[in-house]
Symmetry: C2
Subunit: 306 residues, 2 copies
């Protein structure tokens, strides 16, 4: 594996953070840029919370136990005891982020500061500095904010459509634009393509900046043996009328990717113009994460021989 290639990885929360951890153990930090979904970001009692960014920060700094999710349930009473339950959730990070944002820093600058404070060397970028909010339209409850759908309703309502509020006014940051322009490899972590990757692709100019690069652009399946590794991906695919399969994921990515990694448990995928390979994509231990990163990068190396 050539470790001096510039790699950009698009990630959501937990699954994305796993791949990111594997990559950080293989790729020199100056060659690795991780672009994170911010569609789930929220204000909570005056504090700015970025769930996916924080999952990546905590995972890469070895503090992953600090991530418990945010119980922002709309029907919870505003009591002191509710807030006191937040003690474990590293309020300090949210306070510092809120403070730095209020001082006029961009989210990109703030995340850079936090990553540095946590001793994280690779570059971690939000998908955009503009506010973009993932809205989930459901059959039973109408349109819900992402946290309502995910935490309060535990992703049980039937999803009929997704909307990325604010995306139309968002722009690519210089940092994201430069990272993509200089990338030798572009990866899509096994995050939820609809809830975690779609908001990233909804930023105007993002898709063109990716598709315009004649480099390996590879997605890793979040669907294995008809199920999601974690979370609502499989349930959501079914509700939105997709076949629940890695092939359907690859098809959904369309021209954004030219390579796809599916799991060894699944059937071979043959899509025209798409490099595809079966690998063991299940990441439980840190060794698994490093191994998958190594296998994916190694496989991409072989393309040049084709």
């Amino acid at each position: 594996v050539a470790l001096d290639k510039k790699i950009v990885a698009f990630v959501g929360g937990v699954g994305g953070a796993k791949l990111a951890l594997g990559l950080t153990r293989l790729v020199p930090p100056e060659c690795l840029t991780i672009i994170v979904n911010t569609g789930d970001d929220l204000w909570y009692y005056g504090l700015r919370v970025c769930p996916d960014v924080d999952t990546v920060l905590y995972t890469l700094s070895g503090r992953v136990n600090a991530v418990n999710g945010w119980g922002v349930a709309g029907d919870t009473q505003t009591t002191l005891e509710t807030l006191r339950g937040l003690g474990d959730k590293d309020i300090a990070v949210h306070m510092l982020r809120t403070h730095l944002l209020q001082q006029g820093n961009t989210l990109t600058q703030v995340i850079s500061h936090l990553a540095q404070a946590m001793g994280i060397a690779p570059t971690i970028l939000p998908m955009t500095d503009a506010p973009v909010a993932t809205m989930v339209n459901t059959l039973e409850q109408g349109e819900l904010e992402f946290q309502e759908y995910f935490v309060k309703h535990r992703w049980q309502p039937t999803v009929t459509a997704l909307r990325f509020a604010g995306a139309e006014a968002a722009t690519l940051s210089d940092e994201v634009r430069d990272a993509l322009a200089n990338a030798d490899v572009i990866l899509f972590a096994p995050s939820n393509p609809w809830l975690s990757i779609a908001p990233i692709l909804a930023v105007p100019g993002m898709q063109a900046a990716i598709e315009g690069r004649n480099v390996p652009r590879v997605a890793i399946t979040p669907i294995v043996a008809g199920n999601a590794i974690k979370g609502p991906a499989a349930k959501l695919m079914g509700e939105m009328g997709y076949e629940v399969s890695p092939a359907a994921v690859a098809h959904y990515y369309g021209n954004v990717i030219n390579g796809f990694v599916y799991d060894i448990q699944d059937n071979e995928i043959n899509l025209e113009g798409l490099h595809a390979v079966a690998l063991d994509t299940i990441m439980k231990t840190d060794e698994d994460k490093i191994a998958l990163a190594r296998l994916v990068l190694g496989w991409i190396e072989t393309w040049e021989a084709l």
Copy 2:
């Protein structure tokens, strides 16, 4: 002691909270209103902090150990570790207060909500809903914000003058006005007259609303045997040219009070038109606090016989 009198007590931080605790054990909550200095309030990383109000809330709800003071040192680096050190300081209270203020509630409403959440029955009122900031002019450092003077510089600079920024635009809340209009007794806790009580009296209309009431208006000395029980009161008196004595405190209060409690360790006070009594004013245990409240109220009862 007649316990059905309506009592208003003006308090600052620790010393005031001690008297407040004694009063709550003697006076039915519907008869007790505690008006608290908010001149030390501050914004800290987007959270609104009210040091004196919180000292009273924590003391009356039995959570006094949560009060460690706020280390808002201007030369501390903005690091995550600094903020993580705040874990003990009940961030939940500051988050909820900030949230409720941002929703448009007055500070009076917010404190009422917090007091209720903490199970505190007497009425606790901020001196005003307007922002008033105690500014300390010093010989060595020029003008300092109160927290800079008190925490960062540990009240070591020489005080030359005090200013209550914003006071000229502040107004009496209806709640403070009503409490004073209906009071049978008005007390000034043994708080720092210059740093804790003066900002309260600087709210336009406050002094007139107090002096206009023909009821016992009694201050308890914070100076005993030439020293302050706690904090910078004695040092500050000397620096500002006062004799460091209970008599000087009584004189400073002037027409605001018509009664004064000094300590049994000090010389008899004779000021024209002023009721004065020597009591044991040192409050260490909860029993001391209740005893002093009882003695003060009992002494006030005897005035009627005069």
